[in-house]
């Protein structure tokens, strides 16, 4: 069955249009990186896909069919940028909350919900934290908890809003590697906002570059080029080629001086 996720000619804006006829498509097992300057509409795009905002025109499709808004939370796992903690739930409680879309309004989580939550914690590698309070764990661990929570609803699409932005260098690398593994193993569609072209180059298959009233979409290597980065961010960059451990050809982005846009 074709489970390609597509957004076609989608528009949205608060008053004025921020997202201007945006189109892209992601296959299961692929990661789409969404890059763009502050205010270019990355988070807005997430909220539209997630059903928090309604598209002004156009829309999202899965397998050629219009994305079902009613069941949206069962199909999308959402990882927020960072979580403000009012009550220090334990890690296992927090992951179990991911089962909410699958649980009847007046019911409590069942044994099988608990089992799925436990399995997800294991998959993400946080089983040892299960009984810890979310206020006692590190920022990197918290991000893993939020990813486990998103995966607990067994979604087809994983949406992440700058998941690595508050993490240190090691945790960023850990998170990116984990995401690539998860997507390869689960064959889900993954859409990730990021501020780092390097991260897009490292793990994403496709990239959507958002700018004011324009966007480009395509294979990551074809999108992240000197010209495009200059055009969309106003930064002169150098792309340095190198070979990674597996002998694959990669690029690293080095930012140089600013240019006027």
């Amino acid at each position: 069955m074709d489970m390609t996720f597509e957004v076609t000619d989608a528009e949205f804006g608060y008053g004025t249009i921020t997202l201007h006829r945006v189109s892209f498509s992601v296959e299961p097992g692929e990661i789409l990186a969404v890059l763009g300057a502050n205010g270019s509409g990355k988070t807005t795009l997430m909220k539209c896909i997630n059903g928090i905002h309604r598209w002004k025109s156009g829309g999202a499709f899965i397998g050629g069919k219009l994305f079902d808004i009613q069941n949206i939370s069962r199909q999308i796992g959402y990882v927020p940028q960072c979580h403000t903690l009012t009550f220090p739930y334990t890690v296992s409680e927090m992951v179990l909350f991911g089962r909410a879309p699958a649980i009847n309004l007046l019911s409590m989580p069942s044994g099988s919900d608990r089992e799925i939550a436990n399995r997800t914690m294991k998959e993400v590698g946080i089983s040892h934290l299960a009984d810890k309070s979310c206020s006692e764990i590190s920022g990197g661990e918290m991000q893993l908890v939020l990813i486990a929570r998103a995966l607990a609803s067994e979604p087809r699409i994983l949406l992440l809003d700058e998941p690595e932005s508050h993490l240190d260098f090691r945790n960023q690398t850990m998170l990116l590697n984990l995401l690539r593994n998860l997507v390869d193993r689960r064959k889900i569609v993954c859409i990730m906002n990021t501020h780092y072209p390097d991260h897009a180059l490292k793990i994403s298959d496709k990239t959507l570059l958002l700018g004011r009233k324009k966007h480009i979409f395509g294979k990551t290597k074809e999108i992240i080029t000197r010209n495009n980065l200059k055009d969309y961010f106003g930064v002169n960059v150098e792309l340095l080629p190198f070979h990674n451990g597996k002998g694959e050809h990669m690029n690293a982005v080095v930012a140089l001086e600013l240019v006027d846009v």
Binding site: I52, I72, F87, P88, Y89, T90, F97, P101, P109, D131
Partner: protein, 339 residues
Amino acid sequence: MEQNTRSLQKKIILLCFLPVIVFFLSLFLGRYPISPVDVGHVLLSPFFYPDMQGYELQKSVIVGIRMPRVLLAMLVGAGLAISGAACQGIFKNPLVSPDLLGVSAGAGFGAVLGILLVGNGPLVTMSALFFGIISVVIVFAISRINNTTPILSLVLAGIIVSSIFAALIALVKYVADPYDKLPTIVYWLMGSFAKASYDDLMLVIIPISAGMIILLFLRWRINILSLGDDEASSLGEKPERMRWLIVISVTVIAASAVTVAGIIGWVGLVIPHICRMIMGVDHKLLLPATILIGASFLAAIDIIARTATPAEIPIGILTAIIGAPFFALLLNRMKRGWI
């Protein structure tokens, strides 16, 4: 994790005994001394000694006076405590209590207005309930912004409505007859179960229980709401609809409680915190715990209210005098990260 769940279940079973113990203590402690053995005799007599003689006085004290009073105190305590926990959850703020939405002030005004105009009786009660609900309707009306109700505007609207009704209460006190009506009003505002009767109990048992049952059904969902609206809706929740359902339940409970017992502060704030320290923050276990501890706490305070001094102490004064320092002590000793 299994270990953890089991120890929590053990705790909640132990907590179930607490209200039972306080209930029996309440029956034999009081101005008129009755031994625990006699309490047992009176309670069991309908089953074992239907033709028992000579315990008429004890029977009337226990069944006629103390029983409705302790039951009412427990119902109100349980209702206020679970409402507080639910409010703190949905408003993502551990310092919130059911008074926040203006219910207490509204119902309080209704009651003092009733006392001023008709003295006492069912009209006072109806007036209290009516104004309690009116206050939340007003809060609802002024907190709507662009067809949505942000938490902050709801809280601000609650503060506005509370202070208006507080001013109106002051006005009623000012015009009330200082020798006849004013003492009644002042005494009533301080909260008391002294006039508790089966009629009061019958009047509020259905609304308070209904509110508590709704909150109990939704208790796991309150967790989801406490994550914030965006996260909640990404988890399939409709935060606003849910919030109103809970606010309505809380209003009914709080207005009913004020109606029969006057204004009793601190229970809705302190008890949820004590319960979090015992049970953790998951509302699934927290809400049942608040019912058990809230009921026991208020009934226990009521024992002090009627036995500590020759004259009754208004219970609202005691909950503040005992509750506030206790709360300060708890905060100091257990810094657990939710303040």
